[in-house]
């Protein structure tokens, strides 16, 4: 979707404000929210694309107002309800519904060290999936306007670049986010000249590299 999250190239948000000696979490609830997200992810009721789309669906005014972990929290509550792990009634009462089964968490403390080093994105080596483009080839990012989840940013659409790296094979976010299958395909680092993206006032040699899936691209 052409959502507020797709903000590459926008003006008006002011200067970058770096915080000196920033703590990992500013409040304990941020740490708990981060941990809850990982622990709930272990249920494998949703994938990374579903999760991202959940955040993108926060209304724009709220998206800009909310702090980062507030968005995570909001998204996770929605996903818990949508996947049936928790009911609206339980969220309201704060207690399990009478008679609901006691589950066993898939992630225990002993399993944490391993997942900290692995975000669990499945391996990219799949010789059976043929790349549609070769390194060095000129490609154009398609001018498409998906209303669902997509990882093709607006600022690249219709722009021409060059295949710089072939990263291997990954699930396709536009289908994967919506339960429409992994639709695995090659992902490339595509180099776009800054001038192609932003016009002739951009520095001549600068570039932006964007990771794009086969289906986002067409021969230029």
């Amino acid at each position: 979707m052409n959502g507020i999250h797709d903000m590459g190239g926008m003006h008006g948000f002011g200067p970058v404000q770096a915080e000196k000696d920033e703590p990992v979490f500013h409040e304990p609830w941020e740490g708990r929210t981060h941990a809850l997200n990982r622990a709930l992810g272990a249920w494998k009721k949703w994938n990374i694309d579903t999760g991202r789309f959940g955040i993108e669906q926060i209304p724009p005014a709220e998206y800009l107002r909310m702090s980062y972990y507030e968005k995570w929290f909001t998204r996770n509550v929605e996903l818990l309800v949508k996947t049936g792990l928790v009911s609206r009634a339980e969220l309201e009462s704060g207690r399990p519904e009478p008679g609901s089964a006691l589950r066993t968490p898939p992630l225990r403390a002993g399993g944490v060290a391993a997942i900290a080093l692995d975000r669990g994105i499945a391996s990219s080596v799949e010789p059976a999936v043929t790349p549609l483009f070769a390194i060095g080839e000129r490609v154009r990012a398609k001018n498409i306007q998906p209303v669902g989840h997509t990882r093709l940013p607006r600022y690249a659409r219709g722009k021409t670049g060059e295949i710089h790296l072939d990263h291997g094979v990954y699930a396709f976010p536009d289908t994967s986010a919506h339960g429409l299958g992994e639709n695995r395909q090659h992902v490339y680092s595509v180099r776009f000249a800054a001038r192609e993206l932003w016009g002739h006032e951009a520095p001549a040699r600068d570039s932006v590299h964007i990771d794009l899936w086969d289906e986002y691209l067409e021969r230029a």
Partner: protein
């Protein structure tokens, strides 16, 4: 902007998160000890010191650097910061002619195992919106002026690849040990918004 927001809402959010956690524990959906271990992991065990060790090794061991640039996950796993099946990662080498800088315009993708969790500014609208259209202006705000003849390459992490920048080794560190070098390497230099300087 965002780094002020969390000041405004803590008590309400603290209550809401606590209520959700209680419910999830009572339903057996999460293990509170796992939550404790996760918080501890990201607060104390995973962070930019991991990345700094990788950079310092690359600066001091040419064969390691070569492996790192060719197969980042494998080389990083050698130091124990990545599981073998792990994260897909690419290391971007800064040189006198190329300056690399990493962003995720669409959300907040970031190489957790080697840099820990991203700072608020990295996830903020100002950085996400401007890094791709005005990287030199953003770098200037970080105190970094890139000469016009140097090529600035911005890497927008739109997929599952994670990027870290291998900054240039500062002059005057020829005699420094790997440990001493690792102490010089900042998180920001591995995102590409800072240069490594002698302390």
């Amino acid at each position: 902007m965002e780094d002020h927001q969390h000041q405004l809402v803590p008590s309400e959010m603290a209550l809401r998160v606590k209520a959700l956690e209680s419910l999830l524990v009572e339903k057996g959906l999460v293990d509170p000890a796992a939550l404790d271990a996760l918080v501890d992991t990201y607060e104390n065990r995973v962070g930019p010191r991991n990345g700094a060790r990788v950079v310092a090794r690359a600066w001091t061991d040419p064969a390691y650097k070569e492996r790192l640039l060719r197969d980042a996950p494998g080389a990083i796993a050698e130091l124990g910061f990545l599981s073998m099946q792990g994260e897909h990662m690419v290391v971007l080498e800064n040189t006198p002619r190329v300056h690399n800088m990493v962003v995720c315009t669409l959300c907040s993708c970031y190489p957790w195992p080697v840099l820990g969790l991203p700072p608020v500014w990295y996830k903020s609208a100002p950085y996400r919106s401007r890094a791709v259209i005005d990287p030199r202006g953003v770098l200037r705000e970080f105190g970094v002026e890139i000469a016009p003849e140097v090529e600035v390459r911005v890497w927008d992490s739109t997929a599952e690849l994670r990027y870290i920048v291998l900054p240039e080794r500062p002059a005057g560190t020829e005699a420094a040990t790997e440990d001493a070098l690792a102490d010089l390497v900042t998180r920001d230099s591995m995102i590409g918004v800072a240069l490594v300087r002698l302390a």
